[in-house]
Amino acid sequence: MGMLVLECKPGPVFTALNRIPDWFLQIHSAPLGADSVLDVAAIFPFIAHFIEDAEVFWRNPVEARLGSGIWTELDEQGNQHQLEAYALQYQNSRILLLVDLTASFDARHHVYQRAREIALAQERLVMSLQRQQRKLQLQIQGLLARDESLHAIAERVRQHASAVMVCRPDGSVELLNQALMDIYPVSGNNGTRAEHSLLKQWVNEAEALYPEIHRVIETGASWEGEFESSAGSDKKWVRLLIGPVLDQEQRVTHLVCVANDISGLREPAIELERVTDYDFTTQLPNRRHFWRVLTRAIDECRASGEKLVLLYLDVDHFKRINDSLDHQAGDLLLGTLSSRLRSNIKKTDFIAHLGGDEFALMLRTSQRTLDLLPVAERLLKVVRQPLVVDGHNVSITASLGIACFPEHGNDAVGLMKRADLAMYHAKQRGRDQHLMFSRSLDEAFFNRTVIQKDLGNALSGGELRLVYQPQICLGANSFLRLEALLRWHHPVRGLISPAVFVPVAEESDLINQIGNWVLEEACRQARQFMDRNIQVVMSVNVSARQLRAGDFVQRVQQVLADTGLDPSQLELEVTETTLLDNMETRAESLQQLQELGVSIALDDFGSGFSSLNYLKNLPVDRLKIDQVFIQEIPHDEESKTITASVVKLAHELHMTVVAEGVETWDQLRFLQGIGCDYVQGFLLFRPLPPEEIGAVFASLASLRFDS
């Protein structure tokens, strides 16, 4: 753990809130005071001074945190530790975080070192330029003073690398050379309008940085400086030296101007690099930094024959966890996670926070075969360790994708793509697991890409259609309940399972288009059944994306109005996971739909995060028990108990229950015995085309299951 969390009480007295980290004990091994009290001000003189600023911050925390800046301490063995302190206000507690940055300091130091070496080299170049400019200016001054002809002087400076302009004090040009024309788009050398204004332009431009320039030039003294100058449509940084030529009466006869374009020496890239190389929350190198290191490492491995392993880690359901915590707690979680990951890799390995909940780790080895399983297991295990954040126990897991150089990718882009793909498949397989990239994943990915592309045309090409599976009432109800199910007849591939294409559609906006079409088509069909005296309640599945759309309630209202279907004959099925990303807002939408008269069913109940607690707060009319439980009936006692409990609970909450996936008579009898309201499954009816529904309705009119 790289962080020591201290609470500051009046005094100030600091109490450790977490286990004292090893680095701290290396610096200060004396035993703790009573109640974990630490005299940090005495241990760290640096902190003693920071506390005064922290006190001001705690009284009025205008920002999220106050940083002390980095400082270096020597431990008892003479090792350097780079530390930084942060003052935070957290639930009215005054918190002081001490963070050990030593692990990532080398990389950070390298960047600063490089930046300053470059700045130093540039400073020396400018100094050298300054000497050259002065020398040239003195030469020209000397020639003018000896009445050398302007033509002869022009010849001498014609090909000089520095730009030269000799002008009268009023700015009218006497001569200029090619280098000047290379910087400024001026033409000729006989005092054209553009040339005339160049001195004035320089003076005006330099004035912002050097207000004294007018005075210096007017009094016949030399001036030099660096400023930004307009050169045609460009802006350039220019180093300019202006030297006067005086006559015997000390009047200025000419001005010798020597200029150089120094734009290249003033690149802001170094500053950008410093600002953007590290992520504050985790104190880890950021994506940009990682990308650079990965690219360099691949080049080195290519030369040395080493193997490089890239691990791409993504926290499962992070958004949901983060939304349930406040912003600072989310940051704390990521910070803790990064500390855990960092402490579980070797010093020579590299870890970066790519942003959000994504981390990347890079391992290099000269071994031809490396057993990555223990490494991956260890990383997932440390992620799983329980955390207490914001007073809550938080359980997190992560999915990990692995790709190796050179087997899985020959460059940084390819390798990252493969590791990301493996991570994606690890998530698809249920999360909290790792997966090594393999060619079959690429194939699966390719298939998904093709499906996504073709699905875009399926709707307009009339390749989608609906079938309807009856839900049979085990009591007395004259309405036939139907669930609308989507089918895709691909012109080349034939029938494609919804289990294949619906998840693909759900990853894009296609699910909205398709979902809207399903709603309209099902309602239209229900209205047609009603017109034929077939009394139905049409059940339509709704995706999370559809429900998230701000206008979903209005859309349903519009469809009902357009098709003339009574709202009581429409049921919308949502899953638990659809609701979990923002339970409160989703519940509001469902409430509005219920107020329209539409009924709501909770699909796949029991398969997800099943919290019975939230059920009583949700506007739900029906529960659909997940078929996993039904399939294990009657052999599995646990499934029977769960199913019976769900039915009982639902009835207590005034909900009815649908059991889906009913395939045997034993299952049907059991469900009938526990009072389940509706059953759905292949035992009774497969999904049917609309033209067969009439016959079903007729046959059911005389059929009763309660006898």
């Binding site: 001074h49 005064e52 800046g69 980095i70 270096t72 950070r108 070192q113 300053r116 070496e117 700045a119």
Partner: protein, 164 residues
Amino acid sequence: MVVKKICMMGAFAVGKTSLVRRFVHSIFSESYQTTIGVMISKKKLTLAEQEFELIIWDLEGRDEFTDFRSSYLRGVSGVIFVVDVTRPHTLTVVRQLREEVRNHIGEIPALILLNKADLADQWRLDAATLELLEDEGCTLLHTSAKTGANVEEGFLALLRSMTA
């Protein structure tokens, strides 16, 4: 023992850390190692039979990427400003820093070390500016962390002015 905090200030790469290392550990390295943040060192000294512990705050070199943190000056008893005699710009930086220190904590004992004095052939400082500083009452001292010339004398001179 009397504890005194002093700060080392100046542009980057002028030799602040080298001066401290020479003074505290009697070592010197030619290679430039930039400082990030603050490096704190301690050195015990005896002056006029009084024992002192100097807490030396070696502050990250001033450049366009570094903010001036006035909090670093809290409780400081004296400041050593360091100039690289081969880089005129570093003298400009010291003049700015001196002004900022004055604005934040007023007049305190200070010393300007003209470092890298062993590179006499590359001397680039403007004599008029140095004269101006002397006229303003600044104490200037030529030092070389490389040869050790005047390093200890510099720290002692500051300590003397702090205890005067």
